[in-house]
Amino acid sequence: MRIEVFHDTVYTYATPARAVTQILRLTPRAHDGQFIAKWRLDIDVDGRLHREEDGFGNIVHRLSVDGPIGRLAVQVRGVVETTDTNGVIRGGTEPVPEGVYLRDTDLTRPDEAILRFSRDVTAGATQPLEVAHRLLVAIHREVVFDVVPTHSATTAAESFAMRRGVCQDLTHIFLACARSLGMPARYVSGYFKRVDGVVDQDAGHAWAEAMIEGLGWVGFDPANGISPSDAHVRVAVGLDYLGAAPVRGSRFGGGGEELSVSLTVDQSARQSQS
């Protein structure tokens, strides 16, 4: 599928900021299932944008702008050619030993309830792929998608206790479960072309990847209850949301920050030739 992404993030400051620094994980890398046809990252102010690679192998841009800054827009325009690989990720960049992805973080540390849940729903499953699928299905069934009760610092345990959360929370729960069963797992941030035809979205998407013996990294999208397909554009990975977050920033001075995001993910009008 040829997927087109328009993603604008606009910050406004009631009191202009004196300086802003941001780390942007907004640029996808290629793997066997995705070819980056076009990708541009722009800012609408006079600043410096420096491209580098982080510890997980993600492409990051470091943005520094000197103020006064009343408004700052980060604009992403891209086109990605995807193919459905049944969620299997090959041909990517893997600088981190997979054992690192067994580590719990503050956001993914399982509590008793998650431990019990992951044991219960995977009882009897012998193959790693089956274990991961059972987790995927069970989390999708148990935890209701709801944007209201959680926020960016909600932990897996908190979200699981409410049985509510957004894609970030469901992914954290999946990571907590998989790691507790000894399966390396990681957070993926990216974009999803919705199957229901809705094009305008409020936020990017998140899902998980688990290391399955014999297959390698395989994606699991607990918010949708599916394996990632050619509707997913994979941008960054990390141990949790914080490691893969699209934007992390800090500002010096200023106040009254407001953030608005506009995102459209759509199938490109120009079809791929196949």
Partner: protein, 471 residues
């Protein structure tokens, strides 16, 4: 259990190094000793050398008790310790270079990959990166205990931000003031060159691109940190700026300090802030203590952080248990300093042994420090043992256990008069681009409670001056 007494009390024969001191103690009128003790306390109160104790709501700033009877180490003993410390710190640096680089020690089976990879202090951000001059641990505090005349053990390695060196320096200063006659009688190796040695070490590791005259600063989390006194003390002794995160900023991958005369480039940061708080853009986003973008300047090679990011992986007590093999692997030599035999509770057989022998063992959290969260079996109540049994079963990999060592004792003032109290030793080892520096001795910590084996100041321990006698 009869502990080895450093002075030789209890078995009749005073050890030669302590003879003059013992004779002096025996002859000094008790009023004089009392006077000197209160003068020492007055000195420490006046300089304001305090230590915050976490979990103690009553009195958060506390004076660490100082004991005026020094601990003496002979030149011969120190020569061995010195060699052993150098070997160990070189191995720690080689280990860190390796785990963030080719991982040969893992491939060779010296240490299990998961102990490194799953360790929260093994920083993904540092994998495959170079640090200036290939040195990770510039300042280390290696805790040493002694069990008999010939045997010293390393109890733990502190490769993050070891504290206590200010006490080493202040203890010496107060002793020289109060007991000039003892210093006339003994040839005691000086320690007051530590700040010079530290500054030389820090300057030696400035980035290659750094200028001839590198600008060194000391980064503190601020006055609410338990070791703030030490931070300001050291900055003063080093003659460098004491800064907080908000005094620094990063522009185009270069760190600058805000000064009244405009921005000043910073080349070396002696940071007394944990990795987690260094840079809110890379580590904890809620940290207000760090400098946004600092990691980028660091990874670009434009500033040296001392210690490097990610050294905490060697403070892990399960990693510690592999140090003899790590030393051998990287140096090709037998370790000069021994390790305390350690049961890794992550190994099922070790765990079952430990669970069966809790009343005789010391159990520690692999990532704990400061004497928090440990069990000293022989001194624990039935209830404490039961609660540790639960913790161990719940998270075996989170703990190690060691035999309860008969730490050596040193005569110490107690309510009942002079009595033996258990001690350890924390020498401070400096690694620069131009080699290892280590002032003779270090900080002797003493467990003031009778029979107690926990010397940490956070647990009510005190300190002593440490004398290394020139031969």
């Amino acid at each position: 259990m009869a502990a080895f007494d450093e002075m030789g009390l209890g078995n009749g024969a005073v050890r030669p190094a302590y003879r003059a001191l013992k004779a002096w103690l025996d002859s000094a009128p008790s009023e004089l000793l009392d006077l000197r003790r209160s003068q020492a306390e007055h000195f420490f109160r006046r300089v304001g050398i305090t230590f915050a104790v976490y979990g103690d709501t009553q009195d958060t700033e506390r004076l660490i008790p100082f004991d005026i009877i020094p601990r003496i180490i002979t030149a011969g003993e120190w020569a061995i310790l010195r060699k052993g410390l150098e070997q160990r710190v070189n191995a720690l640096n080689a280990f860190l270079r390796d785990v963030y680089g080719p991982r040969e020690c893992i491939r060779a089976g010296i240490i299990p990959a998961e102990l490194v990879d799953r360790n929260p202090f093994y920083r993904v951000e540092m994998i495959g990166r170079k640090v200036p001059h290939d040195i990770y641990v510039h300042i280390s505090g290696i805790d040493i205990v002694r069990v008999d005349a010939d045997t010293f053990y390393v109890l733990e390695d502190n490769a993050r931000t070891p504290s206590g060196v200010s006490y080493m320096l202040e203890n010496r200063e107060v002793m020289m003031r109060l007991f000039p006659e003892l210093f006339a009688e003994h040839r005691i190796a000086p320690v007051d060159n530590y700040p010079d040695a530290l500054l030389a070490t820090l300057r030696s590791v400035a980035p290659e691109a750094g200028r001839r005259n590198p600008n060194v600063v000391l980064l503190t989390p601020g006055q609410y940190n338990s070791a703030f006194y030490e931070h300001s003390f050291l900055a003063d002794k080093l003659g460098v700026e004491l800064v907080e995160g908000s005094d620094l900023y990063v522009r185009d991958d270069v760190v600058y300090m805000r000064t009244t005369e405009g921005p000043q480039r910073v080349d070396v940061i002696y940071r007394r802030i944990d990795d987690d708080f260094l840079d809110p853009l890379t580590f904890r986003p809620d940290s207000a203590l760090g400098v946004p973008g600092l990691m980028n300047a660091y990874l670009a090679g434009n500033v040296t952080l001392a210690n490097a990011v990610g050294t905490g992986v060697c403070d892990d007590k399960a990693v510690y248990s592999y140090m003899p093999e790590i030393v051998k692997f990287f140096s090709g030599e037998e370790p000069i300093l021994k390790n305390v035999p350690t049961w890794r509770c992550r190994e099922p057989e070790a765990l079952s042994y430990v669970l069966d022998h809790l009343p005789e063992l010391v159990v520690k959290e692999v990532n704990g420090s400061g004497g928090y969260g440990m069990l000293v079996g022989p001194h624990a109540t039935q209830q404490q043992i039961q609660s540790f049994r639960k913790k161990l079963k719940h998270d075996p990999a989170g703990f190690i256990a060691q035999p309860t060592l008969a730490l050596s004792t040193c005569p110490t003032f107690a309510a009942s008069g002079i009595a033996p109290r258990h001690v350890d030793l924390r020498p401070f080892v400096l690694s620069g681009a131009d080699g290892i520096r280590c002032v003779p001795g270090g900080l002797t910590r003493v467990a003031l409670k009778e029979g107690s084996l926990v010397v940490n100041s956070s647990q009510g321990g005190g300190t002593k001056d440490t004398w290394v006698l020139d031969a």
